[in-house]
């Protein structure tokens, strides 16, 4: 009996169920793995041989370098841990619950986001050129000129009226009271409606010349205001 059969019989005595299981491998290996394996192992070995050759000390180190190395590294480790420890202690005193929460970033990000991140600069657009309509440009100039002209005319008229009024006032102030009276006296009296003025007694009475006393009395009755004046004059 060969070894294989011996082992199989032994197993059947221990556990028939196990003995009857399919012995095939369930694990898979990459395609072509074993074909490539020797070449790869050889390459690794060669590389190590190269490093073996380079083990000769070509570089020097400062005196006592390795004596202080451990302390220096430990100091740097403590310094780098300090901020974390400070922050932990700080939070422990304020809100210890938060120290127990995992700080890992849980928000979802698209796969490969950081590997493919590229900054997209905005494209520079050429400045828009707006062409003026020449005709529109000229009509604008004309309209502006007309408006300016109207303003100027108005201003001139305003100034003139002011200056004429003031010149009259200036001339008036130069004239004496006598001159002003003379001017007013020389004004025609066409608007007056009464018969005549009685400048003196003689002139007043002369108009009644040739009229009888009875006719005069009758006249005076009809003209009461003349009666008053006549009585005064007489």
């Amino acid at each position: 009996m060969n070894k294989k059969d011996t082992i199989l019989l032994e197993l059947q005595e221990i556990s028939p169920a196990v003995a009857n299981l399919n012995k095939g491998d369930v694990y898979t290996v990459p395609f072509g793995y074993f074909e490539r394996l020797p070449t790869e192992i050889l390459a690794i070995t060669k590389a190590e041989n190269l490093f073996e050759g380079a083990k000769e000390r070509l570089f020097t180190t400062p005196n006592g370098y390795f004596n202080d190395l451990a302390d220096n590294i430990l100091l740097k480790v403590k310094q780098s841990n300090n901020s974390s420890s400070d922050i932990f202690d700080e939070l422990e005193s304020v809100a210890p619950l938060l120290n127990s929460i995992d700080k890992k970033n849980y928000y979802a990000i698209p796969a490969g986001y950081f590997q493919n991140l590229a900054i997209q600069f905005p494209e520079k657009q050429a400045a828009k050129v707006i062409a003026f309509n020449k005709w529109k440009k000229w009509t604008n100039y004309v309209a502006a000129a007309v408006f300016a002209g109207v303003l100027a005319m108005g201003a001139i008229k305003f100034i003139d009226s002011n200056s004429s009024k003031s010149s009259f006032e200036i001339e008036l102030s130069k004239s004496s009271d006598e001159e002003i009276k003379q001017i007013l006296d020389n004004q025609s009296s066409t608007n007056y409606t009464f018969v005549g003025t009685v400048s003196d007694e003689q002139d007043g009475l002369s108009i009644f010349e040739g009229t009888s006393e009875e006719e005069l009395q009758q006249f005076l009755k009809e003209q009461p205001e003349m009666a008053e004046k006549t009585n005064k004059d007489i």
Partner: protein, 181 residues
């Protein structure tokens, strides 16, 4: 300043190496800045927009960066300002009142595909959205980015004392929210 950052800034100033340096800066800081922005705006699309705008500003402004602070402080400052500008624009576009602002952000948190109301980590996110904007920033920078107050004061242009007080209040409010809701 970090030696790598100094070298990157030097390379950025050389025309032949400018784009390489810029790409290196993006790759170095993209994740930190992205998550800083994402925790404020919640939705990925919004975070991507803000991140893009932020890096465009970096491209335009990096040549004039005075190196009076760390490069990452300067980057965080730009990212923070872009976040605040974005949130301000959202407020103006939206018709919701201030009191509903937190509800809007909470809804965005709940809309995330990974959201699980039973997990403490998601309750924490909901609690954070109930903080005022500045307090949210302070809490995130200290709690997630573990930023020293000295650096944070340069990022947020606020005194260290005010930041400490703000962080303490924020942590208390969050704890209260988680325990009582």
């Amino acid at each position: 300043m970090n030696i790598d950052d100094k070298e990157l800034l030097q390379q950025f100033k050389e025309p032949a190496k400018k784009e390489i340096a810029y790409t290196a800066i993006i790759k170095k800081y993209q994740e930190k800045l992205y998550w800083h922005i994402r925790r404020m705006v919640i939705e990925h699309e919004d975070a991507n927009d803000v991140l893009q705008n932020m890096f465009i500003k970096v491209w335009k402004g990096l040549e004039n960066f005075r190196e009076d602070s760390q490069l990452y402080t300067w980057l965080y400052r730009i990212a923070t300002n872009e976040c605040l500008t974005f949130l301000e624009q959202q407020k103006r576009k939206s018709t919701v009142s201030m009191s509903d602002e937190e509800t809007g952000l909470s809804n965005k948190v709940k809309a995330d595909t990974n959201f699980d109301a039973n997990r403490l980590e998601w309750k924490l996110q909901l609690a954070i959205q109930h903080l005022p904007e500045k307090q949210r920033l302070v809490f995130n920078l200290r709690y997630y980015d573990e930023m020293p107050y000295e650096e944070m004061s340069r990022v947020l242009d606020t005194s260290e004392g005010a930041l400490k007080a703000s962080y303490h209040h924020a942590a208390k409010k969050i704890e209260d929210f988680i325990l009582n809701r």
